[in-house]
């Protein structure tokens, strides 16, 4: 077997002649225990890229944590977290950097456990090539297929199918052929370019960085040879110019430069460019690169541009070739990979980060989920952790984009939960929906302000939230009566009443509750346009939906009223007998019993309904409206 002989000669040679092209970024993926970390560890060892002190500590660690008896457990070179070493698994992606005389590499070693699939996606998103490992004894597993699907979703074109532990099936060619055939048949529709199948033993080094003598039936290259020579074309520079504006440089009163990294194409001084989404056109006055002024720059370069005209450009805008522009839309078809333990709520407002823009975005329609075993389309109302789906997404304003298939940088986005700040999904944009380009806001002759002027008060939304039985509706009714007596134009939207009409098609699951609140908020918005004071009385248990309602309404017109009654009192009151039935298990998804109520953190009014009576609380609300000069 191959043994590393002459120490760092390789290292030295490695540094020459590899600089002219960027490093090949690849990841190892596949199911748990298929040998991903072991493979990279072995590769580094055979290339003599493990330092003596690291090798010594590997010897100690192998005795303590290793699973290979007296041999070195190469996986321990990669599994750098204590929890990983103790459990003998990979939790998070590890990056290793190495070079051979022919090429430099960045290897991402990713976890096989389903629980940590999002960390595999992290490693895959920037990779040019995926080494998909399969245990020869087990064949394709669900996790093998899931990783193949994610690699395909992220448009990794080049795949190595590494059939590992071939020594444990006696180097049997029929086993290898069977797995290869099964994978080719599974991946037919995944859009991979080149798939190279190689039988290997990561533990013993067969076909890792030298040809194995134990598989005379295999005539192809060993893994490293393939990695050194595989062609992963970087054609970004040949595409039209896209430069998302990252930061506006106002170095002095007479300097305004637009800094960013060129996603695709080239730019030269004097080029005509358009700024999106404003669509203003101008010319490039100068280009500042890392070494100072340059005549031109290309994809991958971080530059600062100055423009010939004083036009408004902000972070998040995109500078593009004037004659070859991307589309602009606020409605998209997209693929979504869900990465959070909390599942997707269609209708909920998330934050989308696309390029350097962060804006509100909603999944308006989940078309289907993709079954990772059969690649069939399944009807779905939600996506759970590690599921992939196809959906329509609507954004708060128009964004410039390319289809992900055409440009990996301008077609990718992430979704962030507004409250936890968790990255909940990764998405790829497929195309703009036609209806967005066809539906325009109708200009109205009579404005909201004009309608409001006919009233002698301002419009507002009073959003009463609280546990079932907390007294929301009682107080809201008293407030409305008080306002009506003062000649204020009001309307009361009540949870129960709305569910008899507008929302009769909705139940009480979490996703239906989200949709319920979304519709009510939209109705409230229309009514404030009409100049009314709108009282909404809804349990509305989730912060995210209350925030969505708040963001729909003009700032200052939305008042969140938290009716704070201790749960014991709500249960004691139980005006509709619902707590009794929920506690007996007869009603599911009941807020305060088996579904959480998220306490408001920014309510304009906090009513201590446990200690004060409804009349005085209603007066408190009216006083606040007066103080805010709404009435």
């Amino acid at each position: 077997m191959h043994e590393p002989a002459s120490a760092s000669v390789l290292n030295a040679a490695a540094q020459a002649g590899i600089a002219t092209r960027p490093a090949l970024r690849f990841l190892t993926c596949g199911s748990v225990d298929d040998g991903k970390s072991t493979l990279i560890g072995r590769l580094l060892y055979e290339q003599n890229l493990i330092f003596d002190d690291q090798l010594a500590s590997l010897g100690r660690d192998s005795k303590k944590f290793g699973s290979t008896g007296v041999d070195h457990d190469y996986a321990l070179l990669l599994d750098g977290l204590e929890a990983e070493r103790e459990q003998g698994i990979t939790i998070d992606v590890a990056y290793r950097y190495f070079a051979t005389p022919r090429r430099a590499f960045v290897a991402a070693d990713t976890p096989g456990h389903e629980q940590y699939t999002r960390n595999m996606a992290t490693g895959a998103s920037n990779a040019d090539l995926a080494v998909l490992l399969v245990d020869a004894r087990k064949g394709l597993l669900a996790q093998t297929r899931r990783h193949a699907v994610i690699a395909s979703l992220l448009r990794i074109r080049s795949v190595v199918l590494a059939v590992n532990k071939i020594d444990l099936v006696d180097f049997d060619q029929t086993v290898f052929d069977g797995i290869v055939e099964a994978f080719f048949s599974f991946s037919r529709d995944l859009g991979f370019g080149e798939i190279k199948a190689i039988p290997i033993s990561a533990r013993y080094g067969d076909n890792v960085s030298s040809a194995s003598a134990r598989m005379p039936w295999y005539g192809g290259p060993h893994l490293l040879e393939h990695l050194e020579t595989v062609d992963v074309e970087d054609d970004r520079a040949a595409k039209p110019l896209r430069m998302p504006v990252q930061w506006v440089n106002r170095a002095s009163s007479d300097f305004r430069g637009f800094a960013g990294t060129i996603s695709s194409g080239r730019v030269a001084r004097g080029d005509e460019i358009a700024v999106l989404p404003s669509a203003r056109v101008t010319r490039v006055a100068s280009i500042i690169g890392p070494s100072g002024d340059v005549d031109s720059a290309a994809a991958g370069d971080s530059v600062t541009l100055t423009l010939a005209d004083e036009i408004d450009v902000a972070r998040g805008d995109m500078l593009v070739a004037a004659r070859d522009r991307p589309q602009t839309s606020d409605q998209f078809a997209a693929h979504l990979f869900w990465m959070s333990n909390e599942r997707l709520f269609p209708g909920r407002s998330y934050l989308m980060k696309i390029g350097h823009r962060t804006l509100g975005a909603t999944v308006t329609d989940l078309k289907h989920r993709i079954d990772i075993n059969s690649l069939s389309k399944l009807a779905a109302k939600t996506l759970a952790l590690n599921e992939v789906g196809v959906c329509n997404v609507s954004t708060a304003s128009a964004v410039a984009f390319d289809a992900y298939a055409a440009n990996r940088e301008t077609g990718a986005f992430i979704l962030i939960d507004r409250y936890s700040n968790e990255t909940v999904a990764a998405g790829t944009l497929d195309f703009a929906l036609r209806r967005a380009t066809n539906i325009h806001h109708q200009d109205q002759a009579v404005s909201t302000a004009a309608r409001s002027a006919l009233m002698h008060h301002k419009p507002a939304v009073l959003w009463f939230t609280g546990l079932p039985g907390s007294g929301k509706s009682t107080i809201a009714n008293l407030v409305e009566a008080g306002l009506h007596g003062r000649g204020i134009h009001t309307v009361l939207l009540d949870g129960d009443n709305v569910r008899h009409g507008l929302n009769r098609d909705l139940g009480f699951t979490e996703s239906d509750r989200v949709e319920n609140i979304r519709r009510v908020a939209e109705v409230a918005k229309l009514m404030t346009d009409a100049g009314l004071v709108v009282l909404c009385s809804f349990i509305s248990p989730f912060r995210a939906e209350r925030r969505m309602a708040r963001e729909l309404i003009v700032a200052g017109d939305f008042l969140e009223v938290f009716v704070d009654t201790p749960i014991e009192q709500c249960i004691a009151r139980d005006p509709k007998g619902l707590y009794r039935r929920a506690l007996a298990g007869e009603i599911k998804n009941f807020t305060g019993v088996d579904q959480a109520y998220e306490t408001p953190e920014q309510a304009e009014l906090h009513l201590m309904a446990g200690v004060k009576d409804a009349d005085s609380l209603a007066n408190e609300v009216i006083e606040v409206l007066t103080a805010r000069k709404i009435i």
Binding site: A12, A19, T20, D53, K64, G80, W247, N249, F255, I416
Partner: protein, 303 residues
């Protein structure tokens, strides 16, 4: 002709580091750059000037001074700050000084904990920084190989390595809640070789301690310690010997091992590094207390 036409790989790394710094400056209201005076900090500072050119650095530098750095490091630090006209903040854990903490009296572990980690947290709190650039690289150490480019810290600066945010493409989730902060690593994907290649390509000044010279050395536990001042007590029978040595990595002088070397130019240093069979951090005492000691320190807030 600029090296950037030939060395595409280094050119990409440079562009990436600039991208990361600009992203943090665009997203945070009060960022800071940790400046440890070493080669990585020198490269990072050089990159930062390029990222915000022709403007000035839009953030201060922070040096956490343990009071046990080599004198040449402190002199170099002050020269750099003066030459570039940057806002340099220096923080010393006065409480640690009052308690008499030192690498000699307290040992490497306590000294590092109090004078580096605690001091860093004090400084971040004092100036209310919401993001801190560090020059750490993923190739340095196994737990660092696992860390994100934008690495989230809780309100008490803790790192939760088992629950890191997925970080796809170049779309960094920079959002934090009040009191939380972000550690940002522009050199994540650089190797030790890359840093030196860049220093050579761009003629970046580094502390002379990286170059071989005659220095007063005592040999302890197989390490060559350069006695930078007389605070390092000599053991019975010990006498400093003049030896031609240099450093591959710099830290507190009693905790940093020198290496015998004749390499006194950048080319010679790079040549020597390529021939080495030891890793960079091998000369650092503080990493070797126990397996996973770097991860444990990082969880507590160490960079």
């Amino acid at each position: 002709m600029s090296w950037r036409y030939d060395n595409i790989r280094l050119r990409r790394l440079e562009a990436e580091a600039i991208y990361i710094m600009r992203e943090a400056v665009a997203e945070y209201s009060n960022p800071v750059m940790l400046y440890s005076i070493g080669k990585d900090s020198s490269a990072m500072l050089h990159l930062a000037q390029k990222a915000f050119h022709p403007g000035k650095l839009p953030f201060p530098l922070l040096h956490v001074d343990t009071t046990w750095k080599f004198r040449e490091m402190i002199a170099f630090r002050d020269q750099v700050a003066a030459r570039l006209g940057v806002d340099l903040r220096v923080h010393i854990n006065d409480d640690g000084i009052a308690r008499g903490i030192s690498p000699i009296a307290s040992g490497a572990g306590i000294h590092t904990q109090v004078m580096k980690t605690e001091a860093l947290l004090q400084a971040l709190g004092k100036w209310k920084f919401d993001a801190a650039f560090g020059g750490a690289r993923r190739d340095e150490e196994k737990s660092r190989a696992k860390e994100r480019v934008f690495s989230h810290r809780s309100t008490n600066h803790a790192w939760d390595p088992r629950n890191q945010r997925p970080e796809l493409w170049k779309l960094f989730n920079t959002r934090i809640k009040p009191g939380e902060s972000m550690r940002v690593f522009p050199l994540s994907n650089w190797t030790e070789y890359d840093v030196w290649d860049y220093i050579r390509a761009e003629n970046i000044l580094v502390v002379p301690l990286y170059f071989a010279a005659q220095r007063p050395v005592v040999e302890r536990d197989g390490m060559l310690i350069v006695r930078d001042d007389d605070r390092l007590p000599l053991l019975p029978g010990e006498a400093p010997k003049m030896m031609r040595v240099r450093f591959r990595t710099l830290g507190c002088y009693p905790l940093t091992g020198a290496m015998l070397s004749g390499a006194d130019t950048l080319d010679a240093i790079i040549e020597e590094m390529r021939g080495s069979s030891m890793s960079e951090r091998q000369g650092r005492l503080i990493d070797h207390d126990s397996p996973g000691s770097m991860e444990a320190k990082k969880r507590e807030g160490y960079f």
